[in-house]
Amino acid sequence: MKRKNIHIKFLCRQLPLLLLLLPLGSCFDPSEQLKPDTPQGNFEALWEIIDTRYCYLDYKGIDWDGVKAVYQPRVDTISANNYRGLFDLFAQMLDTLQDGHVNLYSDFDVSRCRGWFENYPANYSSSILYSDRYLGQDYKMAGGLYYERIADDKVGYIRYNSFSDAFSSNNIAYALMYCADCPGLILDVRDNGGGSLEYARKLAATFFAEKTTVGYMQHKTGNGHNDFSEMVPMEIDTAMMPHRWLRPVIVLCNRQSYSATNFFVNAMRYAPYAFVVGGITGGGGGMPQSYELPNGWLIRLSSVPMYDREKKHIENGIEPDYAINMTQESMAEGKDDIIEFAVELIEKLTQQPETK
């Protein structure tokens, strides 16, 4: 009985101490760094994310403090319930960045910058492309690649709609084998809005004879506008693809060839037998990343700048080797000027081989 009392006394003395120790570490306040979920709080969060994470503020010469001075007072005119008004105001502010990689995502809308491709020739018509003159309706499909022989079976043609569409090395191999008798190949990435950088590197590797550095990339290392890491080389490694096409290849592009497609076109400029034909690409040289606002909206922005082999920005697009625009007259006749030029170029290159 006496022993039992000793136990009880000991416990009574020690338990409060133990219970006091348990919440000792509860010093974490998850909201201490968080802006409040109010119109001003969300504005502050958005402005700060762009200020610290967007990679082209200085390159584009954007006065981001000035943008804040213009837009922040307007936030106070928006009531807490007017989420559409707030979204539209944020979208207007983001439009000053003029970047197709900048989008604000909410459950009810997605903002996007305007003008970066609307003010350029379309240079692409799917109805003409899929007419019997070119791809027709009986084209072959290998993964995300659509292919056919065109121009009386003299030229191979591969259409790639999106770098988000998967393909394998076997898909490439079968497409190339189908075009094996053709002296040249057209690779059409017009209106290809991008996708995976890995697919871009894999596809480009088919047209290189050896491992080649085609550009560089950096990433933000701090909150300053110019806090970047060292440039990391971006290489096209021929080991990625077992099959080669070391004959003329004409890459078709237009202003809507964007993001990963922009990188692909940049890489193909350094392929030994490749020529770029069409219009200037859309750019999108900054690999996008996303961040969140306190109200749950998602902001996507260019975060990782990419450069060409000469260490110049590719954000504003790649100029083609041959700038060709589609004319209304040709389109009325069902002709695609860019494909027609590419076919002629292949014929010319076949007669007078030319490499870079």
Partner: protein, 276 residues
């Protein structure tokens, strides 16, 4: 000559007889198998500036034993924990799915000032990995906590023995002291990290990594089984590359405890040295 041999034989027999009579004790390993369920709060500035919170489930096993059967003042523990968690941002518009494995090994000095009371002090070496996947993140959907840590650890346990049963109350606490951790650069993508891990591996010390993990458990021994109930709290915060990371969790602990040991022959030995 014969006489000398006889004396020598008697002496050797006398010397080895006590050793033969005392068979060595069998050392048991205490297995603490537990399921932990509770809330988790997480902040990962690489993925998002927002704090995430949700539910977590852990499976944990600890193996406690002494280094030697005759030295009950030094014990060691092996620990393996598997964690799964689903966490949401405050607006419930995005989710982080986390899965992790944590393994550690530690050694403790056991000080017993009065009957039933044991004070433990020691160190733990730990490998901690927690992979995080954010479904809606563009180009950086993955992040991970990956670190090796040396922890300072201690505890108090108190045993209450009754004729037909026994109880144990134990409080264990540990804090990371030094180690090595992986932290991505704020704008770096894992695409780049495939080619270069530059500036992603950092030394950690209590100046840039602070944490506390403590648990209070109550063990009840019945006829053939021992059951555990408890509560555990963990807080961890670290920073590098201009990024802050933190996670906190509170879990209810339920488990069972059993001893395992190996022995030769068919009869169960009667001199087993258990931790509890």
């Amino acid at each position: 000559m014969k006489k000398n041999r006889l004396i020598l034989s008697v002496c050797l027999f006398a010397a080895f007889c006590p050793l033969r009579a005392e068979t060595p004790r069998v050392l048991a390993t205490e297995n603490d198998l537990a399921v932990k369920f509770g809330g988790m709060w997480m902040s990962d500035e690489y993925l998002s500036a927002l704090p995430y919170s949700g539910l977590s489930l852990h499976l944990q096993n600890e193996w406690w034993s002494y280094f030697k059967p005759e030295r009950t003042d030094f014990s060691y523990v092996d620990r393996l924990e598997i964690t799964g968690a689903l966490l949401y941002n405050p607006a419930y518009s995005n989710r982080i799915t986390a899965f992790g494995v944590n393994g550690s090994w530690g050694a403790y000095y056991n000080y017993r000032p009065v009957g039933g009371l044991t004070i433990l002090g020691g160190m733990l070496v730990e490998i901690d990995w927690l992979g995080k996947y954010m479904s809606r993140s563009v180009n950086k959907p993955y992040s991970m906590d990956f670190a090796t840590n040396l922890h300072l650890s201690g505890g108090v346990s108190y045993d209450i023995k009754r004729p037909k049963t026994a109880y144990r109350i134990r409080y264990m606490i540990r804090t990371p002291f030094a180690g090595c951790m992986f932290v991505p650069e704020m704008g770096g993508s894992y695409y780049e990290m495939l080619f270069s891990l530059k500036n992603t591996v950092h030394a950690s010390f209590f100046t840039n990594k602070a944490g506390l993990r403590h648990e209070l458990t109550f063990d009840m021994r019945f006829k053939t089984t021992t059951w555990r109930l408890g509560i555990e709290h963990e807080y961890l915060q670290y920073h590098a590359n201009n990024l802050r990371f933190s996670r906190e969790q509170v879990s209810l602990v339920a488990g069972c405890i059993f001893n395992t040991y190996t022995f030769g022959g068919r009869r169960k030995p009667d001199n087993i040295q258990t931790v509890w």
